[in-house]
């Protein structure tokens, strides 16, 4: 109930912010632009629309997750609104989970609206409907949840600019972890190998959530893979949230 109240309030906060609308607006614009671009190509119209749309849903989602995510806690601290929350009968973990859940709801709304637009555009201009595309969007959502949790963790102890930098770094490295593993295998020194391997297992492997290429080119993705990827995401989110709560619990709100 209390977590829900915080979540609803966070949802309102983001939804009533103009920045959110401009991001959604641009994402929709790119969906539209994909139609124009596809007109320039021969034959592969649907693939261009699918490719560009999936990429733009993912990209703008990440932008929202990072830039709203890092502000979730720091804004409350900066505006001192947290004083009125913590002085109510609410535990700090409830506050933090509520904030996270609020943004997760915003992202869900974003993903739903974008998928709706995407399916509509695709149907209107190519007359096709492909459900597997939605699976790709689902995994994108799980990825957004992981990135948001990372942003939340950083924002519990760091400034917004640093949090954004860290989260962006996690996002980029998260898509390159395969390279880390390759590097570890080729590395001569045992120490370097150990460090690289540790990073490989420690950092989130975000490329697990990327099946865009496969679904666009109609390569089958087994359900077990989808299930595992979701489970991996949920586990990672849980770990990040526990860490956030541990940091947040000890903080002094000066």
């Amino acid at each position: 109930m209390k977590i829900y109240a915080i979540a609803v309030n966070t949802f309102k906060e983001v939804i009533r912010d103009r920045i959110f609308y401009s991001l959604v607006f641009f994402a929709v614009m790119i969906l539209g632009a994909s139609v124009l671009l596809s007109a320039l190509t021969v034959g592969e119209r649907a693939k261009i629309i699918e490719d560009l749309s999936l990429a733009s849903i993912s990209l703008f989602g990440i932008v929202i997750a990072i830039f709203v995510g890092i502000g979730l806690v720091s804004k409350e601290l900066e505006k001192k609104t947290i004083y009125t929350i913590i002085s109510k009968p609410i535990n700090r973990y409830q506050f933090l989970l509520g904030k996270y859940l609020g943004l997760a709801l915003v992202l869900l709304a974003y993903i739903s609206v974008m998928s709706g637009c995407f399916m509509l555009v695709l149907f209107v201009f190519t007359g096709t409907f492909k459900a597997t595309l939605l699976l790709s969007v689902l995994l994108t959502y799980v990825e957004l949840l992981v990135v948001t949790a990372a942003a939340l963790l950083f924002s519990t102890f760091s400034t917004p600019v640093l949090s954004a930098t860290y989260t962006l770094a996690i996002f980029i490295i998260g898509h390159l972890t395969e390279t880390l593993k390759g590097l570890a295998e080729k590395s001569g020194s045992a120490a370097a190998k150990a460090v690289l391997e540790f990073l490989y297992y420690f950092l989130p492997n975000l490329s697990n959530f990327n099946i865009k290429g496969k679904v666009v080119h109609d390569i089958a993705v087994p359900w077990s893979y989808i299930g595992m990827a979701c489970a991996y995401g949920v586990l990672y989110v849980a770990i990040l949230l526990v860490m956030s709560v541990m940091v947040f619990q000890k903080r002094n709100f000066k």
């Binding site: 915080i6 309030n9 001192k80 004083y83 009125t84 929350i85 002085s87 009968p89 709100f253």
Partner: protein, 309 residues
């Protein structure tokens, strides 16, 4: 209602880990049903104390109890209302949504939430602004809705950090009346301020905090009564010009008012000598008024003493 024992807070700031002591061994008590004023200059540690009590920061030493339960027990807050200093609120919410949100945090049912929110907004004079977003509120209105949110749970203990700051004289009177109204309902009010005239009017007891240390505590009467008459005003007439000159030398200040002269003394001995002088020279003492200290004098003195130590 509130008890602190040796409460201390040391902040570690900056890269060099410099230690700043914000609060030193604070031991005090706020009793049930009283209006307690927490006084001190800026940076005395008032807000730090309130933040410790509200669980926003953790004390580095000492203990505190609210309503008999030790700090850290979240359930205590069910009966607590708090207004932070210079409050900022969720400015994207309307007044009604805002009150509703805080009501939810207390787990108050929908019907009651709505009733209490409406009633409180009326009470603080914001009945007309129910559906206005807080971003359109003036500073005074922000302060009022801050007080309203602190009362949403009908708390037994209300803690207010500088409730009068930023308000005009009428707003201040309204807050004073509100505090007295709460007292009449048997609530306990603990508030920090540096607006002294208000304190003299409404507080049962006060504590003066300077540089993180408790300098004085008691009723306003006790604190003022504890001081000796600090100055004496003596009005005389029928003195020659040179006598007045002699009187002027004994006094701190002497003002001529037609045939009379008013002399002010800060030292009882000098006042005594002056009286003797007036009699000796054949003058008349028209009036002799001892001035007792006000809360302000005590405050200023404690701050000065605190500054020297």
């Amino acid at each position: 209602m509130i008890r602190t024992e040796n409460l201390g807070m040391v902040f570690v700031t900056g890269f060099l880990m410099r230690k700043v002591t914000a609060l030193k061994g604070l031991t005090m008590e706020v009793r049930k049903g009283e209006v307690f004023g927490f006084l001190g200059p800026n940076g005395a540690g008032k807000t730090t104390t309130l933040k410790i009590l509200m669980g926003l920061i953790y004390p580095t030493s000492g203990k505190a109890w609210i309503m008999g339960r030790e700090l850290g027990d979240v359930s205590v807050k069910q009966g607590l209302g708090f207004l932070p200093e210079q409050p900022y609120f969720y400015d994207y919410l309307t007044a009604m949504e805002f009150m509703d949100f805080y009501g939810r945090l207390f787990g108050i049912g929908r019907r009651e939430r709505l009733d209490r929110a409406t009633e409180l907004l009326e009470q603080v004079g914001l009945g007309h602004a129910k559906d206005l977003q807080l971003r359109k509120f003036s500073k005074g209105m922000q302060q009022r809705i801050g007080i309203a949110q602190a009362l949403i749970n009908d708390p037994e203990l209300v803690i207010l950090d500088e409730p009068m700051s930023g308000l005009d004289p009428i707003g201040r009177k309204e807050v004073r009346d509100l505090i007295m109204g709460l007292k009449d309902k048997g609530k306990t009010i603990f508030f920090s301020t540096h607006i002294l005239p208000d304190v003299e009017v409404i507080c049962d007891r006060v504590a003066i905090l300077v540089k993180g240390e408790l300098r004085a505590t008691g009723t306003v009467g006790e604190l003022i009564g504890g001081m000796e008459a600090r100055s004496m005003e003596m009005t005389v007439e029928g003195l020659a010009e040179e006598d007045i000159k002699a009187l002027r030398e004994l006094s701190v200040n002497l003002v001529l008012r037609g045939r009379q002269a008013a002399a002010f003394f800060d030292d009882p001995d000098k006042a005594k000598k002056a009286r003797a002088l007036v009699f000796e020279r054949g003058g008349d003492i028209v009036s002799l008024i001892p001035h007792r200290g006000s809360l302000e004098d005590i405050f200023v003195e404690e701050v000065r003493r605190g500054g020297r130590s």
